[in-house]
Amino acid sequence: MLVAMHAPDGFLGPGVAVVTAVISIVVIGLALRHASAELDDRQVPLAGISAAFIFAAQMFNFPVAAGTTGHLLGGALAAILLGPWVGALVVAVVVVVQALLFADGGITALGYNVLNMAIVPAFAGWALFLLWRKVMPRSSGGVVGAAGLACGMTVVLSAMAFSIEWLFGATAPIPFDTVFGAMVGVHALIGIGEGLLSALVVGAVMAARPDLVTGARDLSAEEIGDRRHVGARAFAIGGVLVAVVFAVVVSQFAFDDPDGLERVAQDTGFLDRARDHAVAGSPFADYATRGIGNAQLSLAVAGLAGVAVTLLVAYGLATATRRVSPRRSFHATSSS
């Protein structure tokens, strides 16, 4: 499940593939319009080379533990550096090229892959970044800390988005709880690495060209120069808080294995009949709700996760729309 991000063909049901494809096309169409308003005729070279940057940055592998390697995902990072519209567009281009040229992710899976890897990270990541900025000091350190926490949490949000899509389009008899627990658990760990790496990347850009960090445009020169290590402490405290919250959520599922009685009921097919009442006639995929220990609780958690992801993406979209102002191109003259 670790790499369910680049999902292949037929990994989720056709209904989910079509619905997510429609959502992705609409949002990327909007992103195109906003990006051309923001970047004007600089859009083609800047978005193209930024996409190449994300592509290249994903190639920087380093071992994490026990033979697995990690690399940057970069969805939320792109939003913080380039703004959510351009960020979403750029990462979507990367995802589509990876599917068409490298068979990395299925062609028919592009709807949910673009949604999970470009749209949710860009807009939910942007929303989380703005929210964390509000509790962080107005300084370089605050921006770096907020970027790290937002990027880390965004990885988990993407995993949640995938689990919710699984609820509607499961193609294997693995219940929603198992998928949700595994996805959120594994991606909480990946999120720590992503958050750390993204924070340090933003820190490096803030040190060299703070004007290129779209998420820090509102800072004055003195605030940018304020490089005290407030970020590090806030980052650590915030990180522990987030980790505790996710640990509680995941542990809800980790110990939710069916007990002996349920197992017997399941094997005799009795549970299937019993549960038909709970979810009968629902739009949920039959597979995803089969074998859930406590259907009500699981669906409540699914609902909460869905509401959280949707609200954050909506907040990101709303704030992104509000900030459409042509980019100040004062740096265009300062570059070599």
């Binding site: 990994f11 281009v93 294997a172 070599s336």
Partner: protein, 257 residues
Amino acid sequence: MSGSHRGDLRGLHVAVDSPVHRLDPAAKLVGTVAFAVVVAGTPRHAAVVTVVEAVLLAVVVAVSRIGARRVLARLVVVMPFVLFALTIPFVAHGPRTEVGGISVSTEGLWAAWNVVAKTTLGATAAIAMSASTPLPSMLEGMARLHVPRVVVAIVSSMVRYVELLAAQLARMRTAMVSRGHDPRWLWQVGPVAASVGMLFVRSYERGERVHGAMVARGFTGTLVVSDRPAVATTDWVVALLPAAVSAIAVVVWVVGR
């Protein structure tokens, strides 16, 4: 997760001459997407149909002269999903059967087969297309399928600079190593992130320089795409043949059940 396959754009196109290579890129793109859609929509219990699809794809790969070994090597991308699929019968719920003395979920077996078959067929189709179509033709094909010009232009400037940026990153890595860093480990994340950050700054500044150079040469916001004659009907028929035959097989299977 492992990324040696990524970014190697030069190795993508296999420059041999074959009927598949000569096919119009726009028709080939549509044919590939249509085939992937039919594969994804094939009912999992229709194993016969999946075999038909696999044979059709094998014929395409054989005719294209890409080489089965090259296709297999590139299929490594989907290995994580195949490995995941192999675990499904053990973790899945539902009625169980005995396979070699081990109790596994019956529907889990079907689900595993479903993931393995669709993943492999979909990926092979994409590989056959990218191996038989040079990148410029593919972009031209996209433009002629009315993909917005801006998108085509962004993709084309992306593929143009990927290798350059990857090489730049490799040079930064070499520089790091020569300064005594060991960027293979997690605790080296600081210098690794610093070079990624620098790569962003350099990429953005390169974008601005490239834009300036383009404007100086009369760039107005969109790229001119050369006009080819319209796609020949025979190209459409040939390119859509595998998808059409597979779709007929699916319909026959569903009706005949």
